[in-house]
Symmetry: none
Subunit: 210 residues, 4 copies
C-alpha cells in the first residue's frame, strides 16, 4: 500500500451508468469497509455488514460469493486507490515531504474510508497468514515501490543527480518504510503533530533525494 495523496484529485470514474447491482455492490463494500475499520477483518460479521448497509444478510450473497471475496474486493479497492493518484506532481523533496505529511494527517483524521491506518495495519498483518492476500498485497506493493523509485529518480535528475536504478530502489524502500511507519505512529501516538514530524522529515528527504 502506502498511497501518496497529492493535490490532484483523481479523475472522475468513467462509468456513470451505475446499474442497481453496481450501486448495491458499492453500498456493501462501503458498509464492509466501515465494519472492517471498526472491528477488523475477522471480527466484523456479515450480519453487521448487512445491518450497516441496511440490507438483509442473505442479500449480500447475491453480490459477493463469500466474505473472503468482500475482503479481497476491499483490499483491491485500497490498492487501486493507491498510486492511482498522480505522482507526477511530486517534483521536489518538499513535495514528497508534504505528500507524506498529508497522508499522515489523512490517517490521523481517519476520514478517508478508503485508506485507514488501522485497516492498513490489519491488512499487512493478514499477509502473514493468508497467502492469497499476501500475493495481492505484495504485487501491488511492488508497483508502488517502482513508482516511488521513478519519482525519486525524476526528482534527483531535476536536481542534477543521476541515480542508478539500484540507488533509486534503496531510496524508495526507505521511503516506503517511513510512510508505513506513519500508520503505526498515527495509531500509537495520537498526539503526534504534523509540525513535529516536518523538520526531520524534510532533512531526510533532502538526503534521500540528493
Amino acid at each position: 500500500m502506502s498511497s501518496l495523496r497529492t493535490r490532484t484529485p483523481a479523475a472522475p470514474k468513467p462509468a456513470p451508468v451505475a446499474t442497481h447491482a453496481a450501486r448495491q455492490r458499492e453500498r456493501i463494500l462501503e458498509a464492509a469497509e466501515k465494519c472492517f475499520i471498526e472491528s477488523g477483518f475477522h471480527a466484523a460479521s456479515m450480519a453487521h455488514i448487512a445491518d450497516t448497509a441496511g440490507i438483509s444478510a442473505g442479500l449480500i450473497y447475491r453480490y459477493f460469493d463469500s466474505k473472503a471475496l468482500i475482503v479481497k474486493a476491499i483490499i483491491e479497492r485500497h490498492l487501486e486507490t493507491d498510486g492511482t493518484c498522480a505522482i507526477d506532481w511530486l517534483n521536489s523533496p518538499e513535495d514528497l515531504c508534504d505528500a507524506m505529511l498529508d497522508l499522515f494527517e489523512s490517517w490521523q483524521r481517519g476520514d478517508d474510508p478508503k485508506m485507514n491506518a488501522g485497516l492498513f495495519l490489519d491488512l499487512t498483518a493478514e499477509c502473514t497468514r493468508d497467502p492469497q492476500i499476501a500475493r495481492v498485497v505484495r504485487d501491488k506493493d511492488r508497483l508502488v515501490g517502482d513508482g516511488l523509485a521513478q519519482v525519486v529518480r525524476r526528482i534527483a535528475r531535476a536536481r542534477g543527480v543521476m541515480l542508478k536504478s539500484a540507488a533509486a530502489r534503496e531510496r524508495a524502500d526507505v521511503l516506503q518504510c517511513l510512510m508505513e511507519g506513519l500508520a503505526s505512529r498515527v495509531v500509537r501516538d495520537p498526539k503526534l503533530r504534523r509540525s513535529t514530524l516536518k523538520p526531520m522529515l524534510e532533512k531526510i528527504m533532502a538526503v534521500l533525494l540528493a
Copy 2:
C-alpha cells in the same frame, strides 16, 4: 513494541519465588504468544492455546478470566520486555543503525518468540478498537519514545551537539516511525535485504543525530 535489541542481554529477573500459579500463568502466556503469532489474536482459539501449553482448556480459566485478559497480559509482557534492554550501548549513529537493522533481521527471521512483525501489526491495529489495549500500548510507547529521545541526546552530545528536549523528541519520533515501518516492510516485501536498507539508513541516522 518497537523494541531495540542490543548486544546486552536483559538482566535476569530478580528471581521471584515462582509459585506454581505464577509458573502456570507463564506457561499459558508463552503458549498464547506462540498461538497469536501463528494465527493472530482473533483466530487463535483457547483450545489451541491450551494444547500448546499442554494443559486442559478449562484450566486456563483458573488463571485468566477471559481470552481478552490473556491478550492484555501478552501485550503487557511485551511492553515490559521492551526497553528493558539497555539502550546504553548505543553510542553512535552507527550503533543505532545497526540496532535497527538487527531488529529488521530478527523480524524477518521471525525467530523471536517475544516479538513478531505480524503480531506487532496486529497489536497496533488492535489499539484502534480496544481502548484498554490502546491505553496500555500508548503508555508504554511514550516510555520507549522517551528512552529514544535520551539516546538521541546522548549520542548528539557525544558528538558535541546539544539538543533541546523538543529537538530530541522530533528525532525520536522519526526513529520510531522508521522502526515501526520496518515491521510493515518485513511483511510486505519478504525479499528486502539488510544491505539494501543500510546505506540510506546510515545517512538518515547521520542527519538525525547531527
Copy 3:
C-alpha cells in the same frame, strides 16, 4: 412405479388446447424433473429449476404454490405416464422378460428423462415420510399391480392355464418386486449386464407364468 416400457409408443395425448399457463407448467415440470434426477428432491433448488426452465425464480410461484407441490406434480406425472403404455403387447413370458430387461437397460443408460433409477428410489423413500406422496404413489401402484395381474392372467390363459385372481396377484407382486429390485441393482452394481440377468430371469418368468 415400475413402468413397463413396451414397443408401442404411448398414444399421443388428445391434444388439449395448450393454454400458455399449461405450457408454462409443463416447462417447469420438465425442468424440475431434470433437476430432481440430477440432484435429488431435496438438493435441487428452485433457482436451479428456474434456470433450467429458462424463467425467473419468482415466476414458478405463479404456477406452483410451493416446491412440495412441484414434487407432487412430478410424481403424478410419472404415475400417469406409467402404465399408459400399452401392456397388450406382452403375450408371452419371453415378452415380459424382455420388457423387464429393457427397463433395466433404460435405467442403466439413464437416458429416460421421465424415469430414472435414482429418482425412483428417492420417490419411494419419500413415501416413508410424506403421507400425501405415499397416498398418490400407492394408489397408482395398485393400478400397476392390477395391470400386471391382468397381463399375467392373459399370458397364462394363452398357455392354457386359468389363474384365479389371487394367484395372478401373487405373481404380479413378485414381478413388481423384481422390477423394482432392478432399480436398486442398477445403482448398486453398475457393472451388471443384461446378459447376466437374462438366463435366470427367463426361468423365473416361466415359473411365474406357468
Copy 4:
C-alpha cells in the same frame, strides 16, 4: 446391502469396556439413525439429531467432525450389520426363502433401527450423487453378492448340482435383485403379506437353486 437375517443372533460385541466417549458416539449414531429414517439424510438437521440424542448441537462435534461423517458412520454400521449374520444356516431353498421373508417382515415392522427400508432406499439413491458413498456401498455390495453366490453354490451342491462360478453369480444377482425389490415393495404396498409372497418365492428359489 441387502442383509440376510438368519436365526443366529450376532455374537455379543467383544468390547464391553464402553468408555463414555464410546457411549456418546453410540447415542449420537442412534439418534442420527432415527432422524435419518424419519426425515432422510439431507432433511435431518444436526439440531434435530442433537435434540433426539438429548445433547447440545455443539457437543456432537466433539465426537464427529461433520455431518457427512455421521452419515458415513451410519452407512458403515448398516453395511457391517449386513452379512455379519452367519449365512451358514442357509442350507436349502426353503431356508433362503424364509430368510428373505424374515427380512421382508423386519422391514415391514420397521423395528430394526439398523436396517430400515426407507433408509435403504435413501442410501441407494444417494449413491447416484455422492461418489464417496457410492464407493463404500458398492464395495460392500460386492461382498454380499459374493457371499450369496457361495450360499447358492453350497445349497446347489448339497442337492447334487455343481454350479460354475458364473452360474452361481447369475443366481446371486437375481437374489439380490429380489431382496432389494422387497424394500421397495414394503414401502409401496404396506398391505402386502408374507403369505402372499411365499408361494411364488418358493418356486423361484427352487428354480434358482436347482
